[in-house]
């Protein structure tokens, strides 16, 4: 035997093991069964001596009567903290921190902790189901966690919602806009019931859903005098959903839809697609997608292919990273963005105060979604305050009971689906390298959430 290493690996098993190994599978299984059987018994006995089994996390939280009224309450945020959404999520986490700061990290006798979790990996640069699932499961298993703020991507919500629903943990998303997550009858046939295996509701969001945004976008296009439109989407849960809403509304408004295609977001350039679209001569190109799914490149290739029409994108592109990726010279006066709310610069009243406090605290302007994470956190704190105890079920109940909450976005309530009653959307345009507010969309006026409104 030439190699000493090999000897080491072979080693000299004791006789009993050698015997077992002769009967390869059976031996293996026998040993496995032995350990599986004997050892757990020991620990099982040990466990039964302890008072009320501490094992299942939820049972701690759900046991209603003797829930603690002081101690630590942990708030978990799960957002894509690596990848190109980072610019956005940085300011979102800052928004959460600002809200916690203002509450001095305390609600009643509870002290609050924030756990800032990442649902993206460096390798993919975008959220992954594994990471989101891990975050959700760990939050579910931690009895101190009472609120889950996130996720950012609607697709990610589909992974974490069923997990957290079973754990009975309150989930408030500052950014998910996919319709099916809350509203029956608009998405897939069995949505949103499939995300609520226990049948109870635990998911709420502070942004208006895409049914509003898609339809408002179409109405805005109609008002601009658009006659023909070409629709692209990024083939994602979010992008496809909103593009579909947009298309339906266009049909109702008799805007001629010249075509609808999904792009391959892994591709580097779309000049050919743009050339084909150019031949159809639309007045407007609608792209249902995000900055992370090549929104910027679409804009750039429109210019390169000589397509001169307008480009309209949804809120997934409402971040400075989009303008950076598209190049301001390409995006200026060309890109129209719908957004479920008002951009930071154009906030008024309490929203404006938020932006100022934010700037003072962190030294720069927040991105568009920071105010929503701030709002989501405040809603969560309100729910904890009202519930008055560390009890997941009570906190969910309190959250869904929130009515006329005086938040930074205005006075709003959660409706029976967990959607916000704020239906104020804004239309924005990219001008000199910045998003510029153009007008309010939808029925923003009905709610009268703020005193003064810029028309």
């Amino acid at each position: 035997m030439a190699n000493p290493r090999m000897k080491a690996i072979v080693s000299y098993p004791p006789a009993i093991m050698q015997n077992l190994s002769r009967r390869n599978i059976t031996g293996y299984l026998l040993v496995g069964l032995f350990f599986a059987g004997a050892l757990p018994c020991l620990s099982g006995c040990g466990e039964s001596t302890g008072q009320s089994k501490p094992e299942p996390a939820t049972s701690v939280a759900v046991s209603t009567d003797n829930a603690a009224t002081s101690g630590i309450i942990r708030i978990v945020s799960s957002l894509p903290r690596t990848g190109s959404a980072k610019l956005q999520t940085d300011t979102m986490v800052n928004g959460i921190k600002l809200a916690l700061d203002e509450a001095a990290y305390k609600v009643g006798d509870f002290s609050l902790e924030l756990e800032d979790r990442d649902d993206a990996t460096a390798a993919t640069g975008d959220w992954t189901p594994d990471a989101e699932g891990d975050n959700a499961r760990q939050a579910a298993n931690d009895p101190d966690v009472m609120v889950y703020i996130g996720p950012y991507n609607s697709g990610a919500a589909k992974v974490s919602m069923p997990i957290l629903n079973r754990a009975g943990l309150l989930m408030i998303s500052p950014a998910n806009t996919a319709v099916g997550l809350t509203k029956p009858g608009l998405g897939e046939p069995d949505e949103p019931a499939i995300y609520r295996p226990t049948g109870k509701k635990n998911y709420a969001r502070v942004v208006p859903a895409d049914d509003l945004q898609g339809t408002c976008a179409a109405e805005w296009a109609k008002d601009m005098g658009i006659k023909t439109v070409y629709i692209l989407d990024d083939n994602s849960f979010y992008g496809k959903g909103i593009a579909e809403m947009f298309r339906q509304r266009c049909n109702e408004l008799e805007i001629d839809v010249l075509g609808h295609d999904s792009i391959d977001t892994k591709a580097q350039e779309f000049r050919s697609k743009m050339t084909s679209i150019k031949a159809l001569k639309p007045d407007l190109l609608y792209y249902g997608g995000t900055t992370q799914t090549k929104g910027g490149q679409i804009c750039k290739d429109m210019v390169a292919a000589g397509l001169k029409c307008k480009l309209m994108v949804p809120d997934g592109c409402m971040e400075n990273a989009f303008i950076q990726a598209a190049g301001p010279e390409n995006a200026n006066e060309r890109v129209y963005v719908t957004f479920g709310g008002v951009p930071p610069e154009n906030q008024t009243g309490r929203g404006k105060e938020f932006v100022e406090r934010y700037k003072k605290r962190f030294g720069f302007m927040p991105e568009a979604y920071a105010i929503y994470s701030y709002e989501a956190t405040n809603a969560a704190l309100e729910a904890i305050r009202k519930a008055g105890k560390k009890d997941r079920a009570a906190i969910i109940e309190a959250a869904f009971a929130i009515k006329d909450f005086p938040g930074a976005l205005g006075n709003w309530s959660f409706d029976e689906n967990g959607d916000t009653t704020l239906h104020k959307l804004s239309g924005n345009i990219v001008r000199s390298g910045k998003f510029e507010f153009v007008r309010l969309l939808g029925d923003g006026n009905q709610q009268k959430p703020m005193g003064d409104q810029k028309k």
């Binding site: 390798a123 499961r137 391959d264």
Partner: protein, 390 residues
């Protein structure tokens, strides 16, 4: 060393039993710790890790599957994630309420493995005459085609929306009762231990099967083909058939892993989850651990994916909270912040580890005895390789 000497074939060694025991005992050790030291170990002590370990077990099965093709037979397969994805989607179709099938979990498990194996045959058959890198490229291309197809065939796969929810397995009563005795709750969502033992059990069965297969007639013919296809054929080995079997076995195990993955995730997720990146990471695990070595592959998965999924997020959050205390919330410059975030260094550590291990242990961390012997039979080496490797 005399090459005709029988290589060591026994799989079960003292250390293996010990390691297995540690994994089997782990959840109970955690609950024991919790009961004995309630002040030190919180009520969730060990749950998160146990949950992540069961994901690692699933990826171990996937890596072992890849090892059949790459390690045993020497077929460089760069599209293993596609078969994984096929397994995931078969499970999804057979289990979700929106389809009429709603088969039980065990049926889905078997059918996912068989379905993926069938796809392996379909891909394997026309590519038999390709060699080396050309074969690698075909498998890579196949992976991309599968991914795009899964994404675009929305009528069947629900596209990027994914098929969900996939219900958890149903424990038969004869199993549920003894499991209750062990203090395990019969609830797949709240008690991670059910998945933990399910995946661990299947992994052990897969390992046992592969350990036997290694020394079977088929296993030996795979190795013979890897070493020299021509010579193997001359010795009467039906090379095409053996290669097809290897492809099918590899794909089948990947499908099996896919079924478990989908069941654990409760959704098929986005088809982009099953892309080239995943194939490459799994391939790295296999090569880093040791091609063709069961223990090596398991070690590779534990190290690489354990680092990526478990250790790295942990370090990151610790580092962040530490920095927060240190910096007192002062906003540093964007570049400094980038440099201080551990997750921004993950790829670097990954890359350096791969490079270093290949530099100092090209046969992998725990190579199969046979491969190790092949690589070191002529130490010290002559300065140049024989020519046909170029």
């Amino acid at each position: 060393m005399n090459p005709s000497q029988k290589p060591p074939t026994r799989f079960l060694k003292r250390w293996d039993v010990l390691v297995l025991a540690v994994f089997v005992f782990y959840p109970f050790a955690c609950s024991l710790t919790r009961t004995v030291f309630p002040s030190w170990a919180g009520p969730t002590f060990g749950n998160a890790l146990g949950d992540q370990l069961s994901t690692l077990f699933i990826f171990s099965i996937l890596a072992l599957g890849l090892n059949v093709a790459v390690g045993y037979t020497g077929l460089l397969q760069l599209g293993i994630a596609a078969f994984f994805g096929i397994g995931v989607y078969i499970t999804g179709i057979l289990r979700v309420p929106s389809y009429p099938f709603q088969l039980p979990f065990t049926a889905a498990l078997v059918l996912s493995a068989l379905g993926a194996a069938l796809c392996g045959l379909v891909l394997g058959a026309p590519t038999l005459r390709l060699r080396g890198d050309y074969l690698a490229l075909v498998t890579l291309g196949f992976g991309e085609v599968v991914k795009v197809t899964l994404r675009n065939l929305e009528e069947i796969t629900a596209g990027t929306k994914g098929l969900n929810p996939i219900p958890p397995p149903h424990l038969p009563p004869w199993l549920a009762v003894p499991i209750g005795w062990l203090g395990i709750e019969n609830s797949w969502e709240t008690d991670y231990r059910l998945f933990y033992f399910l995946t661990l059990g299947i992994l052990v069965i897969v390992i046992a099967l592969l350990a036997n297969l290694e020394n079977s007639r088929l296993g030996r013919s795979w190795v013979a083909i890897r070493e020299d296809e021509l010579a193997a054929t001359c010795m009467g080995i039906n090379a095409p058939r053996a290669k097809l079997a290897s492809f099918a076995a590899s794909a089948g195990l990947a499908g099996l892993a896919g079924c478990l993955y989908a069941t654990k995730l409760t959704t098929t997720a986005d088809p982009n989850t099953y892309d080239f990146n995943r194939s490459i990471i799994i391939l790295c695990c296999v090569i880093l651990g040791g091609l063709g070595s069961l223990r090596g592959v398991l070690l590779g998965v534990l190290l690489l994916l354990g680092f990526d999924n478990i250790v790295s997020p942990q370090i990151n959050s610790t580092l962040q909270s530490w920095l927060q205390h240190l910096g007192g919330g002062v906003q540093s410059s964007a570049v400094a912040e980038r440099l201080l975030s551990f997750s921004n260094w993950r790829l670097m550590i990954f890359g350096l580890a791969l490079v270093a291990i290949m530099r100092f242990r090209p046969e992998g961390l725990w190579p199969s005895a046979r491969l190790q012997h092949e690589l070191h039979w002529d130490e010290p080496r002559p300065p140049l390789p024989n020519s046909n490797s170029a």
